[in-house]
C-alpha cells in the first residue's frame, strides 16, 4: 500500500512541522509568550495544517480522478472492431482491468519480470495460462488489442501513482516551508488556523449533500444504461416480471410495486391501530408508573435489528400461519403452500412499526394544548369523547404525517420481505400467497455473480432509483405536514 505510506509520511511531516513552528515562534519572541500574537499552539498547528491539508486534499482528489481519466483514455484506445458482438465497451474494459491486475500480480510473485510484462505480445506468449499460474482466471484468450490496452493501462497507472506521490510530497514540503518561513511573533496564527478549521467544518457539513448527489448519480447513470438496453415503457407499464438470461427478459416494476404496496398496507393495518391506541392510552390515560414502564419496553421493538424480524417471520410467524391455513392445518383449509406470504411479511413488519407509529403519535398528541382538553372536559364530555372529538381532529395532520413516515419505512424495508415474502412476482389479492417486492428484487439481482452490462443486473438500479424517489416523496410530504402542524400550536 504505497498510498498508506504516503499518508503516514505526510502525517509525520505535519507532526514535525508542529514542533518546528512552535519553536520558531517562541524563538522569535525570545521565549516570552506574552510577545506572541497567538498562543504557541496555534503557530505549531498553522505549520502542521499547511503541510497536511493541501497535500491530503490533492491526494484524495487524485485518487478519485485518476481511475476515471485512465479509464476514458484507455477505452478510447480500444478500436471498435475489437468489441465483439453482444458485448459492450464496459465488458472489454473489465477484461482490460483484469489482465492488468493479473500482470501486476505476476510481477509481484516473481513469475514475470517487469520488463517482460511490458514487452509481452499476445501472439507470442500464452498469457491466459501464465496468468492462471498466479491465480488470475481469464474467461477467454487475451486479444492483442486487450493486451495492448492493459499494458498502457498499467503504464498510465504506474506513472499516475508516481506523479501523485511526487506532487503530494512536494505540496507537503512546500506548505511546511512556507508556513515555517511565515512564522513570526507578529504573525496572526490563530486567525489563520481558525479559518482553516472552519473550512474543514464546512467540508464535513457538505458531505451530506455529496452523499445525496452520490446516491442520485450512482443510480441515475446505471438507470440510463438500463434504459438504453431495455425499453422504459416495459419497465414502467409492462405487466410481467420475468428475468432470464436468454436476453428477452420482461422487467416490469408494476408487479413488484403491487407486492410492495400490498405488504406495506398489511403492515400499516397492524401497526396503525395498535400504535395509535397505545399512544392514546400512554398520553391520555396512563399514570406515570405505567408510562415509564410501557414506553421504553415498546421502544425496544424499534431497536431490534430487522434481521431478527426476518428470522421471526421465516421461522415463527410463517410456520404458525401454515399451521392455521396450510395443508392439514387447524382450519382444515389448504390456502397456504409455504411459510412465505404477504401476510407473514406484513404482520411482522407491522410489529416492527408499532413503536414507530406509537412514539411519533405520542409526541403529536402531547403537543395538542391542554386547554383544548380542559375545555371539552369542562363541557361534560368524557375522556374518550374528548380524545375522539377534540384531540384526534387537532392531531390528525400530525398523525397522517406519522403514518406516511411509517409507510415509507415499510416500502423501503428489506430483510423482512427478503426472508418472509417470497420471490414470485404477480398481481394477486390473496394475502396468503407469496409475492415479491422491489427491495427483494434489488437484493436478488445484485447478489451473486453479476454482470454490469446486462439489463437483468442494471434493472436493480432503476428499481433502486424508483424506491428512492418514492420514499423521498413520502418523507418530504410527511415532514411538511408534521412541520406545518407544529407551527399551528406554537
Amino acid at each position: 500500500m504505497p498510498t498508506l505510506w504516503l499518508v503516514v509520511s505526510v502525517l509525520v511531516l505535519a507532526a514535525i512541522g508542529y514542533v518546528l513552528g512552535r519553536k520558531r515562534a517562541l524563538q522569535s519572541a525570545n521565549g516570552n509568550i506574552r510577545e506572541l500574537h497567538s498562543l504557541p499552539i496555534y503557530y505549531g498547528l498553522n505549520v502542521a495544517f499547511a503541510a497536511l491539508l493541501p497535500a491530503l486534499g490533492v491526494l484524495i482528489l487524485w485518487l478519485l480522478a485518476q481511475p476515471m481519466i485512465i479509464d476514458s483514455t484507455v477505452s478510447g484506445m480500444v478500436p471498435h472492431e475489437a468489441i465483439p458482438e453482444e458485448t459492450t465497451l464496459g465488458l472489454v474494459m473489465s477484461d482490460v482491468r483484469r489482465v492488468a491486475s493479473g500482470l501486476d500480480a505476476a510481477v509481484e510473485q516473481g513469475v514475470m519480470t517487469l520488463a517482460e510484462s511490458h514487452s509481452l505480445r499476445a501472439e507470442a506468449a500464452d498469457i491466459r495460462a501464465r496468468l492462471g499460474e498466479v491465480g488470475v482466471a481469464l474467461g477467454a484468450e487475451v486479444k492483442a488489442e486487450v493486451l495492448q490496452a492493459a499494458q498502457s493501462y498499467r503504464r498510465m497507472t504506474a506513472t499516475g501513482t508516481h506523479a501523485m506521490t511526487l506532487v503530494v510530497a512536494l505540496l507537503a514540503v512546500t506548505g511546511l516551508a512556507i508556513a515555517y518561513a511565515r512564522t513570526h511573533k507578529d504573525f496572526r496564527a490563530r486567525n489563520v488556523v481558525e479559518r482553516g478549521i472552519l473550512v474543514l467544518l464546512i467540508l464535513a457539513a457538505s458531505l451530506a449533500i455529496l452523499t445525496t448527489i452520490g446516491i442520485v448519480f450512482s443510480m441515475l447513470f446505471e438507470t440510463m444504461n438500463f434504459f438504453g438496453l431495455h425499453s422504459w415503457k416495459d419497465f414502467f407499464f409492462g405487466g410481467i416480471w420475468a428475468p432470464n438470461f436468454r436476453g428477452d427478459s420482461e422487467l416490469s416494476i408494476l408487479p413488484l410495486l403491487w407486492g410492495t404496496l400490498f405488504i406495506s398496507f398489511i403492515a400499516l393495518l397492524v401497526a396503525v391501530p395498535v400504535g395509535l391506541f397505545a399512544a392514546i392510552y400512554l398520553a391520555e390515560y396512563a399514570n406515570n408508573a405505567t408510562r415509564s414502564f410501557a414506553k421504553p419496553l415498546l421502544e425496544i421493538l424499534a431497536g431490534i435489528p430487522t434481521i431478527v424480524y426476518g428470522l421471526f417471520a421465516l421461522l415463527t410467524i410463517g410456520p404458525m400461519l401454515v399451521d392455521f391455513f396450510g395443508k392439514g392445518g387447524l382450519l382444515g383449509v389448504e390456502w397456504m403452500a409455504g411459510a412465505t406470504s404477504v401476510l407473514t411479511a406484513g404482520m411482522v413488519m407491522g410489529i416492527m412499526l408499532i413503536p414507530f407509529v406509537s412514539s411519533l403519535s405520542d409526541d403529536i398528541i402531547n403537543a395538542v394544548p391542554q386547554a383544548m382538553r380542559d375545555g371539552s372536559l369542562g363541557l361534560g364530555a368524557t375522556k374518550s369523547e374528548t380524545v375522539r372529538q377534540v384531540v384526534m381532529p387537532a392531531a390528525l395532520p400530525g398523525i397522517v404525517g406519522a403514518v406516511l413516515l411509517a409507510a415509507s419505512r415499510a416500502i423501503g424495508e428489506t430483510m423482512i420481505v427478503v426472508m418472509g415474502a417470497g420471490a414470485i412476482a404477480k398481481f394477486s389479492l390473496n394475502p396468503l400467497e407469496s409475492m415479491t417486492t422491489i427491495t427483494t428484487r434489488i437484493v436478488s439481482q445484485l447478489t451473486g455473480d453479476t454482470d454490469f452490462a446486462s439489463p437483468e443486473t442494471l434493472v436493480a438500479f432503476a428499481l433502486g432509483l424508483t424506491l428512492f424517489v418514492l420514499t423521498l416523496g413520502l418523507n418530504i410530504l410527511a415532514l411538511y405536514i408534521v412541520r406545518k402542524y407544529r407551527e399551528q400550536y406554537e
Binding site: L201, R388, V443
Partner: protein, 448 residues
Amino acid sequence: MSDISQNGAPKRTGSLLSKDARTAKRNRAESRFKLYGILAIAVGLLMLVTLVYNIVSRGTGAFTQTFVTLEVTLSEDKLDKKGNRNLDEIKKVSTFGYAPLIKDAIGKEVEKLGIQTDLPAKKQAAILSKSAAAQLRDYVIANPDKIGDTVEFRFLTNSRVDGYMKDRVSRDSIANDKSISPAQLDFVDQLVAEGVIVKSFNLDFIFGADASDQRPEAAGIGVSMIGSLFMMLVVLVLALPIGVAASIYLEEFAPKNWITDVIEVNISNLAAVPSIVYGILGLAVFINYMHLPMSAPLVGGLVLTLMTLPTIIISTRASLKAVPPSIRDAALGVGASKMQSVFHHVLPLAAPGILTGTIIGLAQALGETAPLLLIGMVGFIASNAPDSVAGGLLSPNSAMPAQIYEWAKRADPAFYERAWGGIIILLIFLVTMNTVAVILRRRFERRW
C-alpha cells in the same frame, strides 16, 4: 344558545344520583375505549415477549454441542509410512487417510465398554462430524512427534446426533433421512449411557468460523464478529469526527441562508432513506468505481458510515443546542474567539450527549444487514480470522447479521439453531451498547 342542547340530548328526568341509560352508555363507551388502549399496549408487549421467548428458547441450543471423547491411536503405518517424520509427506495424507483411525478408535471404545451392537463399523463412525478427520489431521500436522502415540480427542458429533440430543431430531422425523438411521440413534443412546457422548458448552460457536453447509455442527460466528468489529471501527473513526464537525458548523457557525436550509433538509431526508439504497450507493461508488475489494469490511464500514452520519448529526446537534448560550457568552466575554468558545467550552459540555448519540448510531449500524448483502458480505466467505489490521479491513469477511442471514437461508434446520444463537450474541452486543448509552446519559446529563 339554549336550542343547541334541545336538539341532541334527550331531556333528563329523575334523580341526578341514579344513572340514566344514556350516561351508562357513555360510560360503557369510555371503558371500552380505555380497554382498546390497554389491549394495544398488551399486544405490543406480548409481541416483545413472544419475540424474546422465541429467540431465547430456540437459540440457547447453539451454545451447547454434543461431543464424543475417543482415544485415537495415531498409527505410524497409516500416517507416516516411511517413518522419517517429514512434514511434507505427512501432509500428503488426506482426510480420507484419517477416517480408518477414527473407525478403529470407535471400535476399540465399543469393545472396551462392552457395548452390544450389530451396527457396522462404518455406520458407527458416521455419528461423528465430517470435520473429525480434518481435526485429527490438523493435530497431527501441528504435532508430528505424536505419531505412534494414543491421544484422547474430543470430536463433534454430526448435526443429526446433536439434534437428537437436543430433542430436535426424533426417530419419527428421520424416517426419510439418509444420513442417519434409528439403529445409529440406539447406538448413540448406548454411548450416552456410558458417558462417551456428552453435551457441553460450545466455545467454538462464539469464537469459531463459519463452516460449509454440510457441517452445521462446526459453524461459529466468531470470524464474522471480527468483521463486524472492523466495520464498527471504520464507522467510529469516520462518522464521529465528520458528524461532530458537520453539527458544529450547522449549529454554531452556519449563516441562515438557503444553502444551510438545503443541507438541513437533506440531512433529515438522508436519515429516512432506505438502507438498501446505501448498499446500491456502496456497490456503485466504492466497488464499481473506486475498485475497492468486494466483501471487505472497509467497504461495509464506509457504507454504514454514510448511513449512520445523519443519525449522529441529528443527535449531536440536539446536544449542542442543549448547552445554554450563557456558556458561549461567558467564554466570549473573557476574550475567547468564537472557535475557542466552541471547542473549549461548548463541545466538552455536549460530549456525553454526543457520545450517547454515537453509541446508538453504532448499535443501529451493527444490526444493519441489507446494504451488506449488496457489497458481497454474505455467503461462506472467511474461514480464518484475519491476521493483521490491514487484512481485517481489506480481506473478505462477513458481518454478524449477514452471517445470521446466511444461516437462515441454508436448508439444514440445524443452521436455524445457529441463526437464533447468533441473534442472541448480536442482541447481547446491542443491549450492552444501549445500556452504556443510557448509563452515560443518566450519569452525565446536565439540566441547565
